[in-house]
Amino acid sequence: MSTENLESITVNKLVDARGTSCPGPLLAAKKAIGTIEKGEVMEVLSADEATRRDIPKWCTKKGFEYLGTIEEGGYYKILLRK
């Protein structure tokens, strides 16, 4: 999905995990996923390079849909649908 398309997705839950290192962002995502409904979208902000690889793998294992990652200055916006 292109960055423009990703930017246009309505986000139901924003998780800012930029202050933590691996596995902090993944654990923040895990905690927050329980607060949204199936079909809703979560955006995880992470400054941790490894998280952009971890979250897509985690989505596959848990049955969530990884939508894509937007690179910002110094951090990533990682989008997934429950």
Partner: protein, 195 residues
């Protein structure tokens, strides 16, 4: 999940609970018309299979033989526990020898020993702080809150470090046990680690 239908059985219907988990086989005699009953049974069977799938495929098990009592390795253990927690794994930790020292109430928060690259200890500890890395006890606690983590103190290790009662250890510890329990648990594990 695939459903297969067959007319070849001598029974009105039969759902094979023992068949491959991804396939359910339904038999029906062609002269019978009892599909309602058949599907009621199917629903029950699906529930059983889903439950088995959950146990078998979702909740994998990690056993960790935790020997080290130094914060570098305990921190690494905390990172791995975080990964296990994110995936809802069941975790059994066996606290052996030097790790039992680190789990003693009076030691847990003040122990800052490292076991490797010891000449860079201050840099290492400062970096953990700079990166907002939780203390290993907090990482363990977070994992316990998020998934099923049981922490067992080896009875022998406890005695070595003058801790014979559960109360001698931080409240993360669930019980004091023998090596037999570890062996049983490790046999059932999908992943076994020694740190």
């Amino acid at each position: 999940m695939n459903l297969s239908f067959s007319n070849a059985s001598s029974q009105i219907y039969k759902i094979d609970k023992e068949c491959d988990k991804d396939h359910i086989l339904i038999y029906q005699l062609s002269q019978q018309d009892n599909w309602n009953l058949c599907f009621a049974q199917l629903a029950l069977t699906c529930e059983i299979i889903n439950s088995n799938l959950y146990k078998g495929k979702m909740a994998k098990k990690l056993t960790l033989a935790l020997f080290s009592g130094s914060v570098d390795k305990l921190t690494a253990a905390g990172v791995i526990l975080g990964g296990a927690a994110a995936e809802d794994m069941d975790v059994e930790i066996y606290v052996l020898l030097q790790a039992a020292f680190a789990f003693k109430k009076e030691n847990a928060m003040v122990n800052d020993r490292v076991s490797e690259i010891t000449d860079k200890k201050e840099d290492f500890l400062a970096s953990l702080n700079r990166l907002n890395t939780p203390h290993w006890t907090e990482a363990f606690r977070t994992a316990k809150e998020m998934t099923d983590v049981k922490i067992h103190i080896c009875g022998f290790a406890g005695k070595v470090w003058h801790g014979e009662k559960l109360e001698d250890f931080i409240d993360l510890a669930d019980d004091i046990c023998g090596i037999g329990e570890y062996m049983t648990s490790a046999e059932e594990a999908d992943i076994s680690l020694f740190i």
